[in-house]
Symmetry: C3
Subunit: 289 residues, 3 copies
Amino acid sequence: MTKEAVFLATAAVETLRNLRRAAPLTHCITNYVTANDCANVLLAFGASPIMADAPEEVEEIVALSTGLVVNLGTLNRSTVDATFAAARRANELGIPAVLDPVGVGASRLRTETARRLLDEIRFAAIRGNVSEIAALAFGTGSVRGVDAAVSDAVAESNRRAVAERLREFAAAFRTTVVASGALDLVVDAERFATVRNGSAWAARITGAGCMSTAVLGACVAANRERVWEAAVAATAAFGVCGEIAERRTVERGGGTATFRTELIDAASTAEPERLAELLRVEAEVFGGV
Amino acid sequence: MTKEAVFLATAAVETLRNLRRAAPLTHCITNYVTANDCANVLLAFGASPIMADAPEEVEEIVALSTGLVVNLGTLNRSTVDATFAAARRANELGIPAVLDPVGVGASRLRTETARRLLDEIRFAAIRGNVSEIAALAFGTGSVRGVDAAVSDAVAESNRRAVAERLREFAAAFRTTVVASGALDLVVDAERFATVRNGSAWAARITGAGCMSTAVLGACVAANRERVWEAAVAATAAFGVCGEIAERRTVERGGGTATFRTELIDAASTAEPERLAELLRVEAEVFGGV
Amino acid sequence: MTKEAVFLATAAVETLRNLRRAAPLTHCITNYVTANDCANVLLAFGASPIMADAPEEVEEIVALSTGLVVNLGTLNRSTVDATFAAARRANELGIPAVLDPVGVGASRLRTETARRLLDEIRFAAIRGNVSEIAALAFGTGSVRGVDAAVSDAVAESNRRAVAERLREFAAAFRTTVVASGALDLVVDAERFATVRNGSAWAARITGAGCMSTAVLGACVAANRERVWEAAVAATAAFGVCGEIAERRTVERGGGTATFRTELIDAASTAEPERLAELLRVEAEVFGGV
């Protein structure tokens, strides 16, 4: 391992250990399709999930919590209200909030909700697939130039160019951006990591993205002074769990439901040190502004 | 195999291959109990699910989609509005819509919603258990005569009589009806298939019916010119997955949760050709009108 | 086995057999996070679940049902209305209702809803973790004295003292209380059982409490003349399933998702006689009032 890789692995172990030690109460306002998976993966990594989305109670719930995760997967008028109420309160109290803008760009409701959230709320981190992040960060019309590069996929050939674009967005909103694809980028105003962990099987189940965001939220909650490192660790550790799950699924001749089981099993059984050994992460510092 | 059975098997292979090739975006407005299972089984068969039920966005979401599945499992005022909005738009755009009238007959809300849907919307296919289909097609009061035959069960002894009754309903609403029971009937105005595939274990988990309807919706979306053949293929292929899952569950000494895992595993691993080999389907053309 | 243990085991076998024989339609108004697990565990134990929470239909649905389970896990304005409507109708019709006051104490909405439910509705049984039960039964402010004993945990050292406190609550509301913790107490006005079955793994998945309450609701529905015995049997049988699941999970080197699968598998495969053999339950009659 290079010196930098050793640093990232050490930071990941610390992130994941802090997560287990703090067992942060993580308030999730999330879609009903994958809420169960998100709760289970949070428990598997050592966090304590609480799902609550009634506008009448979310300010109290978030105030009891250490972190907030908002996921727009099956938003409706009531949960949009709840999301704003909880996120505003989180900001007031200094509780880190994480956003997964699921399907942004697919409907005005999603796009406008995500934009308004960006305008009003400070998110410690934002995670989505690269198309969602592009739609959120640049809109559809305004970025046709970079669209091919950004929205097709993040690959070895364009990762630096994509990261540069995401850097602007991260800097403008003082956040850390995680854009997932064939490889994942974790970008803030100063540096970016390329995470090469993960399994192609993750795209064959519902909820892999939602789960990854939930884990991100919990990691940030337990490591709020080092958000970028926490985001790298969360993204890579979840990716490693996917790799372990893929290997076991193939060994057993299983299919996608077995993969889902193995994914959460891996999260609940692998020690931070073991996950860190399997990281395939590279970090780079951006050049001068 | 008879010539007819060969034809059905060949059509099933083509249906399932088209499904994989098209990977149709399938918009589901469905209940929160089994939404995760529906999304996962759609992915397993090669479709691309999107769950969205906010009235404000469903017209946009369905317009992006290739097929629409509406399931009344946990309907409420908001999702009823969303269902009508999405289904009307689907009809306008020629996007095939499929209905699962879960629990029709159990409450006025369900019965009236299902009836109004029938009045206003053209569904490419409608799938439910035989009691639901009877309640929807004939109402309770008006069909006391056929009630015993229809609502008790579809069995070898009465399948032709039940199919004849369902034919009238299918013809009146220009739809294909799938009525599930000890055996499944797939009926349109001209012919019906008797599907003998399936596992009794399916009734011991929640969501088997919902999943079968979701697969039906995706198969119809990817094969919209041949809805009846697509419905036969979807119903039989899902039934075969149940048989594979039952065998594996029994071999492993597992219970109903293992069966659920094996069911989705089978959907995600069995090749169309393999599923088609195991079909037990018989088709008959109705006599003259 | 002592004479008393034999009695409890015999009663448990009868409770579970009645459950299978009656297959009670169990109406659940429950949270979307674990609704799927609740439906599957009800089916596994032989009950027939129906999830429905639209205010417009719940009175009709509960009237068709044999039991009602209300769980405040992800309550919102609409489901609160539905809960009251269903529970009032259940009371009118003599259908036993069971309450799981998830998160009571965490928000005014939850606390006030649970208190209003207690005021207006007669529940055959109420189940929650010991903190929830303490918050519901005694409030936070009024019970500082007993708070340490009650809210920290129920353990061997304080179980009698806790049971005495819960007895007052059970008597005042003419209900049976199940308070879960390191060990579970099942308390009514006259006696209490200490249930030592269960697995520490249950706390590492979401939904174990919700599932236990669902099974309680179905057991009470099928054994309404002997609610306390039914509650002991449901609590202990679910705990035994956890023990079986833990053993199998460890044998297979699995994690928490495997545990969840094994838990429902155990519920669906273990015979009542087998579950009863593994009970670790002790009953005591309260001294005079």
